[in-house]
Amino acid sequence: MNYDAIVIGVSSGGLNAMKIMFSLLPADFSIPIVIVQHIGARSENIWIQLLNDKCNLEIKEADEKEEIEKGKIYIAPSNYHLLIEQDKTFSLTVDERVNYARPSIDVLFETAAEAYQERLIGVVLTGSNNDGSKGIKRIKECGGLTIVQQPDTAESSYMPESAIATIQPDYILPLEEIIKLLIEIDIQK
């Protein structure tokens, strides 16, 4: 099976997780990655620049109406929900918070599942709330591949535990193993 996109949800402990993840991804990794990281509404996205310096791939904030391209990592802007359209472009909204969060992982995952169906990989990483659980369920229902960070290896185990309580994921792995798996899938393409 070929996959056209990877969506990742990460909350508390996320900055460390992303640092590890980005350092392990090779320069020729082709499947686009879209990330929702919970972050304060007033945050400037300087941290995206900082992460970019440590990554082989281009990391950028997702712009509205932007087309999703191979080999890029997109991060949801703070204080906006990030949605994916059928034509594989981004939309942003300022709708009410979902699970106390904007951006919400569920919103990204649910719309990505609709857009990519079974050609999507959903990943839930460290975090201390239950955002992402409904979304990963939708990804599974649409036939996508579901991966959850092994809770006892996560900085914050609540979000992975909540996802595992909601669905039986295809894989439960430590972060490094998740990246290995994603690289393997990308090479098989």
Partner: protein, 300 residues
């Protein structure tokens, strides 16, 4: 090894099977759902005159699905029948589809930039007309009225605050907001460069505040639909923030055309901090006043 894998056979299959059957049925289901939603939007437009057909599809779909879950409706066909037969329910769905999340001095940096970069331009005009398009419940219109008052421009300015949703317009006109929000709004106001005491701008009781009459006098509330109505007035400045993100490219372009025709030469256009002119025909017809805050000046 500490890793666990569940569903191992299934997972391996997933990576190797060609999946044609599931692909086809998923495709059919998806296409059917899209057609149904488009049909619903056609029906709403035809019956009630509100045109959501060129809104962001993913957004509309989420809102419609949410309403179906809340109201216990099983499919779009049932929803459509209910919308067309019950006006009260249609009104609820219209509220769902129009987003009214706003705050006073939203993005404080934007208002700081208005003070520093836009007010000097506005000061050159004897009379100033400002159009706040898609004003929702008016929090940002009141914010602008406060800035103009502090900058000594209130006497020669009128703010036209418009929205297609009469319900939120009425709320804006009343100028009554929850007391609970004022702490956050005060912080926004101070971050935006406000130097007065924010609580001087309203009168409060235990639950609510009511904005001062002097601010209310500066705002004219009017019903205007960006999707279906034409040029509203000739104005010196347009604010339309976090409205166009809900529209598809075609509709964004139409609305930018409307704005371009409404602005005087040298007039100022303010968009939301994540909105741009990039995917419209009007990219080259404006100069950038503040890239980060998305403030533009119409070229002569």
């Amino acid at each position: 090894m500490s890793s666990m894998q569940t569903n191992e056979p299934h997972s391996t299959n997933k990576l190797t099977e060609n999946g044609t059957d599931t692909l086809n049925s998923a495709y059919t289901v998806r296409k059917k759902a899209e057609l149904n939603i488009l049909g619903l939007l056609e029906a709403i437009n035809h019956t009630y005159g509100y045109d959501f057909r060129d809104y962001s599809e993913a957004h509309i779909k989420r809102r419609v699905m949410n309403r179906m879950a809340i109201s216990g409706i099983k499919d779009i066909t049932e929803l459509q029948a209910k919308v067309l037969s019950e006006e009260a329910f249609a009104s609820i769905l219209l509220q769902d589809l129009s987003i009214n999340v706003t705050e006073m001095f939203r993005d404080p940096g934007f208002y700081r930039s208005i003070r520093e970069k836009v007010i000097p331009i506005l000061k050159t005009y004897p009379f100033i007309k400002i159009w706040h398009a898609g004003c929702s419940t008016g929090e940002e219109a009141y914010s602008m009225a406060i800035v103009l008052q502090e900058e000594g421009l209130a006497d020669r300015t009128t703010i036209y605050a418009t929205d297609f949703n009469q319900h939120v317009l009425n709320q804006g006109k009343e100028g009554i907001f929850s007391n609970k929000l004022m702490k956050e709004y005060t912080a926004n106001y101070q971050l935006s460069g406000g130097k007065e005491s924010f609580s001087d701008y309203y009168i409060s009781d235990d639950n609510n505040v009511i904005m001062n009459q002097s601010l209310k006098n500066k705002i004219v509330w009017a019903n205007h639909n960006l999707v279906t109505d034409s040029v509203f007035a000739e104005v010196n400045m347009i604010l339309c923030r976090n409205v166009l993100i809900y529209f598809n490219r075609k509709l964004q372009n139409n609305v930018q055309n409307l704005f371009h025709n409404s602005l005087i030469n040298g007039g100022v256009l303010c968009l939301g901090t994540k909105e741009s002119l990039r995917f419209t025909d009007f990219h080259d017809t404006y100069a950038v006043l503040d890239e980060k805050q998305r403030i533009f000046k119409k070229k002569y």
